[in-house]
């Protein structure tokens, strides 16, 4: 296809992506260097028969004027990145000098909002992704073994958790697990502890959100693995059966190597999706004990008094860096393959 024709065909979609994905990333980058204005203060001299006092009050008029003149805020450089709500460099230095042992230091650091969110996000990725791969693979194997006729409805039932939006999916589970729901109430009875509830314990909340993540993402892994299993050649499997290979050996030495590229694909996609975990935190109303990077950004953006554009943008930029680190191995591999292919 000539370059000119390509240009006209690709222009609309390219323009849409540049304007609404490329530019916003740049806009986020610029915003992250600004912070909202401080309030303008003025000195007011009040005199009464007993003498004069000077007090400092907020000048609302001037503040509004300043905000209107420079809506982006004041230039802050990397100030937002290193403040207490983000990388918290000063606090970490202080903790390092003040705390006695390493454990206490880690405790202090993981209580800082950014690190808290980072640790939750990474824990979520670390537990959900492998379990999704495993469960998806097992479901695919076992559905593959049932009669073809009844597979349709079974597949439909299996993919339900995936097609609902995460907010709805987590709500549906939350209403059952909540202390007034069917599962929560029964667990209370079983444990004989009427105060046992999801919200009461941080660990329980984390486990619930991770289980939700596995429940929500496994169907995707299942669908891809199921389709890949259909392409496994018959001859090597039959040869292995004749040679007396056990079922487990067949899966390990023939099926898995065959679907290996698909496994990396699923791992990559679900890692990317898990890294942006956000809606389940709202669905489970778990803001108190579990915060993710995406949730931090959301929280800044729905701030009641003044939207913290700078703070949200700084967290966004660091999230993008995180995504880049996750994607780097894949991109490097693609680049190498591309080079050798030419």
């Amino acid at each position: 296809m000539p370059n000119k024709t390509f240009f006209w065909f690709f222009l609309p979609t390219g323009l849409a992506m540049i304007l609404f994905i490329g530019l916003p990333i740049i806009s986020t980058g610029i915003q992250s260097f600004y912070a909202q204005h401080d309030q303008v203060v003025k000195e007011v001299k009040k005199c009464d028969p007993f003498g004069c006092t000077v007090s400092i009050v907020v000048d609302n008029e001037e503040t509004t004027k300043l905000r209107e003149a420079k809506p982006l805020g004041k230039f802050n450089g990397f100030g937002t990145y290193v403040d207490r709500n983000h990388l918290a460099i000063d606090e970490i230095k202080k903790f390092w000098n003040e705390t006695e042992n390493f454990g206490a230091f880690v405790d202090q650091v993981t209580n800082l909002p950014f690190y808290k969110a980072l640790i939750f996000t990474l824990t979520y990725c670390l537990f959900v992704t492998p379990n999704v791969l495993l469960l998806g693979f097992i479901i695919a194997l076992s559905l593959n073994a049932v009669a073809r006729k009844i597979r349709g409805p079974l597949i439909f039932g299996t993919i339900l958790p995936m097609i609902v939006t995460p907010l709805v999916g987590s709500l549906v589970l939350f209403w059952m697990i909540d202390s007034q729901g069917i599962i929560g109430a029964n667990i209370q009875n079983l444990m004989n502890d009427p105060y046992l509830s999801l919200k009461s314990s941080k660990t329980l909340t984390w486990i619930t959100i991770i289980i939700y993540g596995i429940w929500h993402h496994s169907p995707f892994a299942f669908v891809v693995f199921y389709a890949a299993l259909q392409t496994v050649p018959q001859e090597p499997v039959e040869a292995a059966i004749i040679d007396g290979a056990s079922r487990f050996q067949r899966i390990k030495h023939i099926v898995l190597p065959h679907i290996y590229p698909v496994v990396t694909f699923v791992a990559l996609i679900s890692l990317m999706d898990n890294f942006r975990v956000f809606e389940p935190i709202i669905g489970f109303s778990a803001e108190g004990s579990a915060q993710s990077l995406s949730w931090l950004i959301y929280d800044n953006l729905v701030n009641e008094e003044v939207i913290l554009f700078g703070s949200a943008a700084a967290t966004s930029m660091m999230t993008i860096v995180g995504i880049a680190i996750l994607l780097a191995p894949v991109l490097i591999r693609t680049w190498k393959e591309f080079k050798t292919a030419r």
Binding site: P12, I25, S27, T28, L154, I163, Q180, P219
Partner: protein
Amino acid sequence: MDYGLDKKSTSLKTFNTIFIIVWLLIACFPFIWTFWGSFKVRADFFSRSDWWYAISAFNTLIETGGKFTTDAYTQAWTEGEFWKASKNTIIVTVFVVSISLFLGTLGAYALSRSTERYAFWILIAALIFRAMPHITLVSGYLFPFFQLQIWGILPTTIVVLVAINQPFTLWLLYSFFKTVPKELDESALIDGCSYFQAFRHIIMPVMWPGVITAGLFSLMLAYNDFTVTALLLNQENHTMVPKIQSYLGTNQHEGNLMWAVSAVVSATAPLFMLVMFFQRQVISGLTAGAVKG
């Protein structure tokens, strides 16, 4: 895998059946339970005293005189203005699907027919764009949108959702276009068609399965989106998913949980029916990138 040689032992078969039944219960029961509960009153579905009330409908009988009640639905749809939210969802979904298919087919066709180096890099760039968390993009939109005073209205959200959706649509349609033989449009070009005519009259007619799959995924994205719609639309223009969240209530005001339950069922039912109808397309779409590529 129906291996003629593969003899499965009975115990393995039983184990397999049990596993599938357990998994299906885990996957489907929450939805069935929510559907069942949406016809009860709050005191039953969120019972403080006894969870069995949700089944025996103890309070529902007292409050409404029947074992099932549709009060939650009628209230949510009228008082809760869920009708407005679903109207907005329909507008957003229809426009997002049609625009993103229009842009996506043109772009993906060009990508699949180009032998230049930049086509590869565009696909890689699209993959990186696909990985961006939506909330980071939203934090980039808010400020300029406020300044341009285009925040809160449906058209802005539609354009944003189309753009966010493009990388995935491009990849999906690209892999479908790759399966259409090049000779088909080349012969049309020799006969004197322009590229656009070849695309319009030769390629599109054989591309319907791919277009339907891509359309379904655009639809699911637009229909299910929370991040973009919750932050870029004002209260008046909220679509279904942010509306459901607003029923949950906040620390300041108490929400109406039963409205949320019935709204969840109302929003999920059409989606389930659609997927039931188009199951084959959904699965082919999910696997297109993985297995064929």
